[in-house]
């Protein structure tokens, strides 16, 4: 299986605190890797280091074999890496459709073609397809700010997939979503995983969600990898249980 993401020995310190103390792992094509761990174990910091939001003190990140440590998030995105955020981040002033077109427009053409070309950057049809896929059809022309929380979550996920990414990092996608919406979200994620062959890395607290969605799970505690394996293996691991109960 081809390795899409290779994280080698990432270390990130903030002053005297070591948030991530040497984490390494690999993700193969089509896998859905879950990263779990108690609060403050460094999950979000790790994500930010992979995604270029932060520059790690040590360590390297390779995407599809290419060295990506220290690249700016927009450059990473154009290499095929996409993300969702813990806190909802859609663009409230733009309509649902426009949010989606925006998510894909920087992947086609150049600055010049975006200035002189079509208004929707040729993405109108794709945006409509994505709207259909995430069942947001009746909201296509609404301003994103007017959607309910659950609907915004779906839009957020849809935006991450517009550019047909190779690798998607989801930061607590299940946060604050009700059960029906959660089932819908999980269903959509699995469908995209099958159809686009996208690789996922998911940070989550919701055990149920992680265990049923992910093919492999990584457990972090205090900035280090505690355990790795299939959901069943990890759940049965005594160290993992203690790490969670200990907090």
């Amino acid at each position: 299986m081809k390795t899409v993401l290779k994280v080698e020995n990432i270390v990130k310190r903030f002053g005297g605190i070591t948030a991530v103390g040497g984490v390494s792992f690999e993700v193969g094509e089509g896998e859905i890797l879950g990263i779990i761990g108690p609060n403050g174990c460094g999950k979000s910091t790790l994500f930010n280091c992979i995604l270029g939001q932060l520059t790690p003190n040590e360590g390297q990140v390779h995407v599809d074999g290419k060295l990506t440590t220290g690249l700016r998030p927009c450059e990473l995105n154009r290499l095929g890496v996409s993300r969702t955020f813990q806190l909802l981040q859609v663009f409230p002033q733009l309509t649902v459709r426009e949010n989606l077109i925006l998510s894909g427009q920087e992947h086609r053409g150049t600055m010049a073609s975006r200035l002189f070309g079509k208004r929707d950057a040729g993405l109108g049809a794709e945006a409509d397809k994505m709207i259909g896929f995430f069942k947001l059809g009746h909201l296509a022309g609404e301003k994103a700010g007017g959607l309910s929380y659950g609907q915004q979550k779906l839009l957020d996920a849809a935006m991450a997939f517009m550019a047909g990414p190779r690798l998607v990092l989801l930061d607590e996608p299940a946060g604050g979503v009700n059960l029906t919406m959660l089932a819908s979200l999980k269903d959509r994620l699995q469908a995209i995983n099958r159809e686009q062959g996208a690789t996922f890395v998911v940070i989550e607290h919701n055990m149920e969600f992680v265990m049923s969605l992910c093919t492999r799970v990584l457990v972090l505690a205090e900035g280090r990898v505690l355990a790795e394996g299939s959901p069943a293996e990890v759940r049965a691991n005594p160290e993992v249980v203690e790490a969670y109960l200990g907090h």
Partner: protein
């Protein structure tokens, strides 16, 4: 296109404005035409600054210097026999390049550094205008800047020159409108609302901001090239920090980020000395106090107030609709 209230109002306003702009000049004397032409020229500069400030969210304190750069380019070239169109092209290239060179290092660091770099550049430009006498004739100024001839028609008369300014404004306004409606416009909304999210979607915020600043500066240059034949005499005096501040306030008062903002702001700024003439020296003081008060009440300027009012109305209407809908559905939760 959705025909909601703001759009309708905007269209009506635009139609009325265009009508007035085409018809009014025939009833005005030389001075009135001068004021109107000045408004048109300043609107061009303000449109450029609105790109930088309203759409890309950056403060530029050098727009006045770019107007000066354009004015001197125009004055020097046209008094040496070159046609004005050459001056326009050169001014665009020059101001764009200078804007790029100023913006690139400043934006790489911290976004608020652009304000200080443009502040420094503004003062530097003034010094250059004043000192390089071999080129700019220094404090003596360049006299007798000719008005251009278009297709054999001279624009010497006040009313003809006014229509040239108006046509130029229309052209620039169209260009800016096109830019805002293109995917670039979408990128600007995104990077203003949430730059981190925009970056994660592949929007190169730095590149877009830099382009907005460079283009905005180039438009300042265009305004300058028109300004030279308008006043027919160019010396360094007008191109100080005050002009940059004035242009900034035009954009702010009109409403930054709104397409019509610069037009409104320029009108207020150009007409204010006329309206407040009875207050003698105090008009600038009153203006400054007005701007301060306006900023506290509505940082998005006058058009912002209108927008807020209209949005509040439509939100109330939408809530009422939702409330009515749930009422008829009974307990649908």
């Amino acid at each position: 296109m959705k025909l909601d209230l703001p759009r309708i109002l905007g269209l009506i306003g635009a139609v009325i404005a265009v009508f007035l702009l085409l018809v009014m000049p025939f009833g005005l004397g030389k001075y009135g035409l001068f004021i109107l032409s000045q408004w048109a020229v300043m609107s061009i500069a303000a449109l450029g600054l609105n790109l930088t400030l309203g759409y890309a969210g950056q403060v530029s304190l050098a727009q006045g210097a770019f107007v000066g750069l354009g004015a001197y380019t125009g004055a020097i070239l046209t008094t040496n026999g070159w046609p004005m169109i050459v001056a326009v092209i050169l001014a665009i290239v020059l101001c764009f390049a200078v804007g790029w060179c100023l913006g690139y290092p400043a934006l790489r660091v911290q976004h608020h550094y652009l304000a200080f770099v443009t502040l420094a550049f503004s003062t530097l430009a003034f010094l250059l205008f004043r000192n390089e006498e071999w080129l700019t004739k220094g404090i003596y100024g360049i006299d007798g800047v000719p008005r251009p001839s278009l297709f054999g028609l001279s624009t010497d008369s006040a009313i003809r020159f006014y229509f040239l300014c108006l046509a130029s404004l229309a052209l620039v306004a169209f260009g800016v409108w096109w830019l805002i409606r293109s995917p670039w416009g979408r990128a600007f909304v995104a990077l203003r609302e949430n730059p981190i999210r925009a970056l994660s979607l592949g929007v190169d915020t730095r590149r877009y901001i830099l382009m907005a600043f460079a283009i905005g500066s180039a438009l300042g240059g265009v305004a300058g090239v028109l300004y030279a034949p308008l006043v027919e005499f160019i010396d360094p005096t007008p191109f100080t920090l005050s002009l940059s501040l004035n242009l900034l306030l035009m954009v702010i008062v009109g409403g930054q980020g709104f397409f019509g903002g610069p037009f409104l702001g320029a009108a207020i700024s150009v007409l204010l000395p006329e309206w407040l003439r009875f207050t003698q020296g105090y008009y600038l003081l009153i203006y400054a106090a007005f701007v301060l008060g306006l900023l506290v009440y509505s940082p998005t300027g006058l058009l912002g107030i209108l927008d807020r009012y209209l949005t509040a109305r439509s939100t109330r209407a939408a809530s009422a609709k939702r409330a009515a809908a749930t009422a008829t559905l009974g307990d649908a939760r």
